[in-house]
């Protein structure tokens, strides 16, 4: 069991895993590892069609054991089904400048949450992915997972305007198209989620799932208005709030001029002075987002960029399981 867990890519350190290959490969590893650990078929729908048998593995749901075969051959096999789906999902990915950041800039300070590890790609800290890099891999994995369930998956990339818009499709080649879009370079300055969310809703011509992956460094009322519209249209929405650990816990000491790369807002501060107040403020902001999303029936998860991809993937999968 331990060897199985050790090989599961969804439980790897994100930065270490990302260093092993491109988004496409890494995402496959993540999804494969995730499905191995699931121990039951992810495919489930209103109309299912038998596909094949496979040997029983401990943890498989006993409902799917073919008891006739077991009685005849004294072998336990599991019936596997292919399902048809009518879920249309759209992943809305924030690619603004604030997303292209990791806690590397604060490495000169005595940041308590620093971890040793392999260097990362995409301009992130050697031991941590930027929020964008992390979000891109998570998006790819999530899309692959949904596509394997026969769901139609689309993608909207946005910063201060919409950069990419791929309508949801379940056909073969959709995932490669999505991955190709994710590998497109360039980020703008600010984030403008409302327009992207509306665009995502427009891409789904009937009720569907919209997943917003963003650092939410934007104005809450604007997002709230957009979310109300989505919810009014009957869409299920979930938000994955991507945060670098350094954004939640400042280093314990040091002084610097902290500059927002999007707005150029500059704040001089001593870490020791404001650390506690900053943490309280971040918690307060998270609480505000959580309250707002909760009031709209929107799922909200905080995703730390040092968490293995399996963690947010599992949450998204659980949400998907709740949908028809």
């Amino acid at each position: 069991m331990e060897s199985t867990r050790a090989l599961r890519a969804d439980l790897f350190d994100p930065a270490s895993l990302a260093a092993l290959g491109r988004i496409e490969i890494v995402a496959r590893w993540i999804v494969d590892g995730f499905m191995t650990g699931l121990h039951r078929s992810p495919r489930k729908g209103f109309s299912v069609e038998f596909a094949e048998y496979r040997p029983y593995q401990p943890g498989d749901d006993l409902r799917y054991i073919d008891w006739k075969i077991a009685a005849r051959s004294d072998r336990w096999v599991i019936r596997q089904y292919e399902e048809e789906t009518n879920l249309r999902a759209s992943i809305v990915l924030d690619v603004s400048k604030s997303m292209a950041w990791s806690g590397a800039a604060l490495r000169s300070f005595s940041w308590q949450g620093a971890h040793a590890g392999a260097p990362a790609r995409d301009g992130g800290a050697p031991d941590r992915l930027t929020k964008l890099a992390y979000a891109e891999r998570l998006t790819a994995a999530l899309a692959l997972l949904l596509l394997r369930q026969r769901d139609a998956v689309g993608l909207v990339r946005f910063d201060d305007r919409i950069r990419t818009s791929i309508p949801p499709r379940a056909r073969t080649g959709q995932w490669r198209r999505l991955v190709g879009a994710l590998e497109e370079p360039g980020t703008g300055r600010a984030s403008s989620a409302p327009e992207a969310l509306h665009q995502a809703a427009r891409l789904i011509n009937r009720r569907g799932l919209i997943v917003l992956i963003s650092d939410l460094l934007m104005e809450l009322p604007d997002v709230e208005r957009a979310m109300r519209g989505l919810r009014a249209a009957g869409h299920d929405v979930t938000v994955m709030h991507i945060m670098d650990p350094a954004e939640r816990d400042l280093p314990s000491s040091g002084e610097a001029l902290f500059v927002d790369p999007e707005s150029e807002l500059a704040v001089p501060a001593s870490m020791a002075d404001v650390r506690a107040a900053y943490k309280a403020t971040v918690d307060e902001v998270i609480g505000e987002w959580r309250t707002m999303f909760g009031s709209l029936g929107i799922g909200y998860e905080i995703v730390s960029t040092d968490a293995p991809f399996g963690v947010p993937l599992r949450r998204a999968f659980a949400l998907r399981q709740l949908l028809p």
Partner: protein
């Protein structure tokens, strides 16, 4: 407050560092990209008041710490606060007068003084300057170990010493000590008779310890006197005992007790005697020992000899013959040729009571006789007319005829009576010279009632035996050297030649003065009777009496010891300054730590 090393105050300039850090902290050069800067701004906005107060507090703590360190380096001293003591010049004055030997609680008071003084000496630092001053005015300076030895050797003196001189010298030495902090630390029993007058100590602080307990009840011999000084051989010893009740006494001569008795309080006791001893002898009057044993014995000295044999010249007149008959009848004189009572013109040898010649024609012969006899006086101009005589025992005596008494070179004599400004009777070694003939038409002195006693005293006290006298002196006193003596005989018989002065021994006793091989007098050393009166001043009375820069009077030995070096001196503030710096830095660490914990 002042600083012993003020240059180090320049270190205080370091306070500019935290001030600049505080003022310039918003001018931070390090620029860091931080997307969540909006949260940071919001956090600062919502906590700005707390942050400002905390930063201000930290800045103040750092400034205080730096100031305290700079102040400590500058070696601050102050009167009102501090630990240890600044370099201090201290003169410890120990009242080792006779009264300090009184036993209180089974221990001489002086022993307590010595113990307290030793403790103070032990608490001196190398930067202090110390002196020990005893109540007789002797000053000793030196290292603490030297002074401790001096203190250990200290004994009570037989008298009251010279408290004024002791305090004045103590004030002088601390003034000359070259230190700003000066203290005179006095240990005394606060005896009223001793501190009747006190000198000013200037700006030196006086730290005075006096016991609060009442003095012990004391009995003392306050008078012991041979009357007259020369016994022929009869005489008396007058004694007075200071006590609250009757006290037994003992009178002895040369160690031989010849009288005992019981004296009522303050009664003058007269003991008559005709002892067999001859020459100069010492005697004592003693009582039972009490808490102050030193004044339970008092010394006297007297000359004892046979009654002088007197030869009266016929020319001196009938009154002297009648007077001598009276004295002979009382066995004070006998017939013989030891002493001549004679007119000046007939003088052949000394000792003699010499009168002026009745016949003025014989004046020249008289002066020549005086010169031959070695009497340094001459009869001068003859004066007539009634004139009053002044002198002890000469009340109502007048003269009608008299001669001026003219002193010759080297004349050393005692004037016993004067007329106007002129000497009328002078006395020198082995002679008494009268400026008038003792005849009724020249003076009424021979017919006065005082004449016979005066004549008896002159014959038995001035002219009998060797010339010399008894000198009553206080212990340790310094007196002019008597011309009639050249050495002093100690208690063990050894003789010490006299110098220009007569240095009276510090111990009570009778010390004989000698000339050649013969005893010619005595120095009787006794404590002043007032030293036996142990009444003490209260602390408040003492405080009011002394004039000093600052006076602290205490009855508590611990307070006295604790205040030594500190009361007058400005104490060192180095330790408090360092303590303040440490406390400030600890508080700063706590504030920062609390901030860190909240941040975590």
């Amino acid at each position: 407050m002042s600083f012993l090393a003020p240059l180090y105050l320049l270190l205080a300039g370091a306070v500019a560092v935290p001030l600049l850090i505080h003022l310039l902290r918003r001018r931070i050069g390090l620029r860091v990209e931080f997307p969540a800067a909006r949260y940071l701004a919001r956090a600062e906005r919502e906590n700005s008041r707390t942050l400002k107060i905390r930063n201000l507090l930290l800045m103040l703590l750092r400034v205080i710490a730096l100031l305290a360190i700079a102040a400590a380096a500058a070696r601050p001293v102050a009167r009102w606060l501090g630990a240890g003591h600044a370099p201090t010049a201290v003169a410890i004055v120990i009242d080792n007068s006779l009264s300090s030997s009184a036993v209180v609680n089974g221990r001489p008071l002086l022993d307590q003084f010595k113990a307290m003084a030793r403790d103070v000496v032990s608490s001196a630092t190398p930067t202090d300057r110390l002196w020990l001053v005893t109540i007789d005015g002797h000053v000793r300076g030196g290292a603490p170990s030297v002074l401790r030895d001096e203190i250990n050797r200290l004994e009570p003196i037989a008298g009251s010493g010279d408290p004024n001189a002791a305090l004045a010298r103590a004030a002088t030495v601390v003034r000359g000590g070259g230190l700003e902090a000066r203290q005179v630390a006095l240990l005394t029993d606060g005896q009223r008779s001793e501190w009747d007058k006190v000198p000013s100590l200037g700006d030196a602080q006086l730290l005075l310890f006096a016991p609060s307990a009442p003095p012990p009840s004391n009995r003392a011999v306050v008078l012991a006197e041979a009357r007259p000084i020369r016994w022929t051989p009869r005489g008396t010893v007058a004694a007075r005992i200071l006590s609250r009740d009757s006290t037994t006494y003992r009178v002895s001569l040369n160690g031989r007790t010849f009288a005992r008795g019981t004296a009522a309080p303050n009664e003058e006791v007269i003991v008559r005697a005709a002892p067999p001893e001859r020459g100069w002898v010492a005697g004592t009057v003693e009582i039972e020992a009490d808490e102050l044993a030193a004044d339970n014995v008092r010394y006297f000295a007297t000359w004892i000899g046979a009654a002088p044999a007197v030869a009266v010249a016929p020319a001196v007149g009938p009154f002297i013959k009648d007077a001598i008959d009276v004295l002979r009848g009382s066995e004070r004189v006998t017939d013989g040729h030891d002493i001549a009572i004679i007119g000046g013109d007939e003088l052949a040898s000394l000792p003699a009571l010499i009168t002026a010649p009745i016949d003025p024609v014989k004046l020249g012969a008289a002066n020549r006789a005086l010169e031959r006899a070695g009497v340094p006086w001459r009869f001068g101009e003859r004066r007539t007319g009634d004139a009053s005589v002044r002198g002890t025992g000469f009340d109502g005596v007048t003269t009608a005829v008299r001669y001026d008494l003219v002193a010759q070179a080297g004349a050393v004599a005692e004037t016993l009576a004067v007329v106007g400004r002129d000497a009328w009777i002078v006395a020198g070694p082995r002679y008494v010279l009268i400026g008038s003939p003792l005849a009724p038409d020249a003076t009424n002195f021979p017919v006065r009632a005082s004449f016979v006693p005066w004549l008896g005293a002159v014959l038995t006290e001035r002219l009998v035996g060797e010339p010399g006298q008894v000198i009553m002196a206080a212990p340790g006193a310094q007196l002019p050297r008597p011309r009639w003596a050249d050495a002093m005989e100690g208690s063990t018989g050894q003789r010490t030649p006299l110098g220009e002065t007569l240095d009276v021994p510090a111990r009570a006793g009778a010390y004989f003065l000698t000339r050649g091989d013969r005893r010619v007098g005595a120095v009787v050393v006794n404590a002043p009777p007032t030293e036996s009166v142990l009444d003490r001043y209260s602390a408040s009375e003492l405080r009011a009496r002394f004039q000093a820069g600052r006076t602290l009077v205490t009855n508590d030995p611990a307070t006295w010891q604790a205040t030594a070096f500190r009361g007058a001196s400005r104490r060192s503030l180095i330790e408090p300054a360092l303590l303040l710096a440490i406390v400030t830095l600890v508080v700063e660490a706590v504030v920062i730590g609390a901030r860190g914990r909240r941040a975590a």
